[in-house]
């Protein structure tokens, strides 16, 4: 989708801090990780499994995903408020976020989750 002659060129990009973006990235990694950890916890503990059963037809999956979504959104809101007007060290923040996301991918894989 290269620029066509009839398109209006966008005005020059204003200088922006990276804080909001970093907040969104870190929170997404964290939310994904909470999902994986909550899924393992619900699988291993009968008490947590029962607690996660928010909607009976769906079972514990309803609580696992709701917990993860709430954790993700709360952290996102907190980080957004703290970082939105500043530049943060995006490389370490990104590395933490991506590591958490990659771990989530692995920890949701049942043979790995069963190791705990």
């Amino acid at each position: 989708m290269s620029s066509r002659s009839g398109d209006t060129p966008a005005p020059a990009a204003p200088a922006m801090t990276n804080g909001s973006g970093a907040a969104a990235v870190v929170a997404a990694g964290f939310g994904s990780f909470v999902l994986a950890v909550a899924a393992i916890a619900a699988d291993k503990s009968a008490a947590i499994k029962s607690m996660m059963n928010l909607y009976r037809p769906t079972g514990p999956l309803s609580g696992v995903t709701t917990t993860a979504i709430l954790a993700w959104l709360v952290l996102w809101m907190v980080l957004e408020l703290r970082w939105r007007n500043r530049d943060v060290a995006i490389k370490p923040a990104g590395a933490v976020a991506f590591t958490l996301l990659a771990l989530s991918l692995l920890l949701t894989f049942p043979p790995i989750a069963d190791l705990f």
Binding site: S2, A13, M16, I90, G94, T108, P110, A113
Partner: protein, 190 residues
């Protein structure tokens, strides 16, 4: 030619929302990779910027629609518990899969992974949409941020692919069926 309401919802969830999301991923990756690279010198038009914003918004809606219909509409039918003494497990996909060692892995590995990993998709693409909405063409000035958005979209593609693969394979072996039938076309008897 008929389809049951449970079958129709499964189709909407998988072939509608899920498959469309998978198809859309490559477009988002290419656009973010090609047009928003710091080394790309040609200016980004407002039309291009607006297109990618709408594209990511559509992907986000598809991702949420896929996991919400999957988790709260289709999955309860999948995990329905048959009454004691039921011999024909056709209407109880989870129990049907678990009834044979040849198919139990499709539930214990396939569905167990799919039901959780699929939720990484809306989280990742919502983040991508939020970052793009905030930065838009300014993303060119933040190559590390762009790289993270690209990475998360790529992982969301992988997660959606895993969920889609297992969804399709499980539905082949133990389809989610039931509910009132909807007649699509009147067939001819021979």
């Amino acid at each position: 030619m008929e389809i049951t309401t449970h079958g129709l919802w499964t189709l909407v969830h998988g072939m509608g929302f899920g498959a469309l999301y998978l198809l859309a991923c490559s477009g988002a990756v290419v656009e973010l990779w090609r047009r928003y690279a710091a080394t790309e010198l040609s200016p980004i038009s407002e039309r291009e910027e607006g297109f990618l914003w709408a594209y990511l918004l559509a992907m986000m809606v598809l991702a949420w629609a896929a996991v919400l219909t999957g988790t709260y509409i289709v999955y309860p039918w999948y995990r329905a518990v048959p009454p004691a003494g039921t011999v024909d497990l056709a209407g109880y996909p989870q129990r049907l899969l678990l009834s044979s060692p040849a198919t139990s892995g499709w539930h214990s590995i396939g569905m167990e992974w799919k039901e959780h990993v699929a939720w990484l998709v809306p989280i990742s693409i919502t983040m991508a949409f939020a970052v793009f909405s905030k930065h838009r063409r300014n993303l060119r000035n933040h190559p590390e941020l762009r790289a993270m958005v690209l990475s998360f979209v790529a992982v969301s593609f992988l997660a959606a692919g895993i969920a889609g693969f297992f969804g399709a394979m499980i539905d082949k072996r133990a389809p989610v069926e039931g509910g009132p039938s909807i007649r699509l076309i009147q067939g001819e008897s021979r």
